[in-house]
Amino acid sequence: MRPSLSKPSLWAINIDEKRTYEIGMPALIKSFLLSILLLTSVAVDAFTLEELTFDSPEQQTEFRELISELRCLVCQNESLAGSKAELAQDLRNEVYKMMRAGQSQDEILDFLIARYGDFVLYDPPLKPSTYILWFGPFVLIGIGAVFMVRALLRKQSAPDAELSDDDRLRLKDMLADRDGKTDQSS
């Protein structure tokens, strides 16, 4: 009785599993392909804005890296590489021209910082006006750590420290008293 009942049910589970697997696989592939498509479409999108030619693949890579480190000031959450704003286009062209003219990355960055300020950089430089930005979190963590350590130390030392000699004597008496009572009851 029992094996004959359990067998079909086992089969049913197997078939169901197989089916979900078969349905699941194409969906997974589909989402994977879609994500690939989305990723590449963004990259293609950003670089079909202007047709730029480079002396070497290295120069092209350098250009891409540079413009992805720079902020578009019109759409501040976009880099120069990802923005369709006209200003971003102008600045990309400027970066391109300077690069083709043989200027170094630092020279190009200095040029843009001198005109648009540190704000064009996604990575703010370390200088007195940005100390709070760079060190603020560590200072806060430090303050938090001091408080935590103090609280922990206090908790640990509290039972001993809070008892005066008188209290200790009374406690000793009470404990002796209780022990005496339990002795009596047992």
Partner: protein, 191 residues
């Protein structure tokens, strides 16, 4: 027993102060965030303030034979106004600029930015021309050197050709009366 266990070696007033520390920190944080909310992230401070105007030369908008250059910005207090015919806020500040152009010993210099000469000229013809001269910069070749990232933007330049202030957005009565006018008066006093 209960009273003995809560008794502390630190005086009560000290403990109250310590308890207030998180509250104080919280208030400080709220104040910081409120300050941050009040700031307009679109108003990026210009690193050019305090520096001489960039060297440039552009054709004059309505008179292409003439040129407008950095030398035109020396000797007189100037308001350098970045504008374009496609820019709605520029139209809004046009009236204010018309009034400012009346001030003696003071020039309003336009930087016609990423615009079409014909459209720009027509705007000036139809609504009046507040500018003493207008540099025509259709492809943002000079705008980049001024750190322009939108229109309207206005720079206040002193007699020595040093940029003293940058205003982002349209000039209205409040901006003029509270910020620009006192600055211009100060520059006039500098002689």
């Amino acid at each position: 027993m209960g009273a003995a266990s809560t008794a502390s070696s630190t005086p009560a007033s000290h403990r109250v102060l310590v308890a207030l520390v998180p509250l104080a920190l919280f208030i400080a944080l709220v104040a910081l965030l409120a300050f941050g909310l009040g700031n307009d992230p679109r108003k990026v401070p210009s690193p050019l303030v305090g520096k001489p105007v960039p060297v440039f030369s552009l054709p004059e908008l309505t008179d292409p034979g003439r040129s407008v250059s950095d030398t035109d910005l020396k000797g007189t207090i100037s308001l350098v106004n970045v504008w374009a015919s496609w820019c709605g806020s520029c139209r809004a500040e046009h009236q204010a600029l018309m009034a400012l152009s009346e001030i003696p010993d003071f020039q309003v210099v336009g930087l016609n930015w990423k615009d079409d000469a014909e459209n720009a000229t027509q705007v000036l013809r139809l609504t009046g021309n507040p500018y003493d001269m207008n540099g025509y910069d259709p492809d943002n070749s000079v705008g980049i050197h001024w750190g322009v990232y939108g229109a309207p933007e206005t720079f206040v330049v002193d007699r020595k050709g040093i940029i003293r202030y940058k205003h982002i957005g349209p000039i209205d009565r409040t901006v003029w009366e509270e910020t620009l006018q006192p600055l211009v008066a100060e520059l006039q006093a500098e002689g």
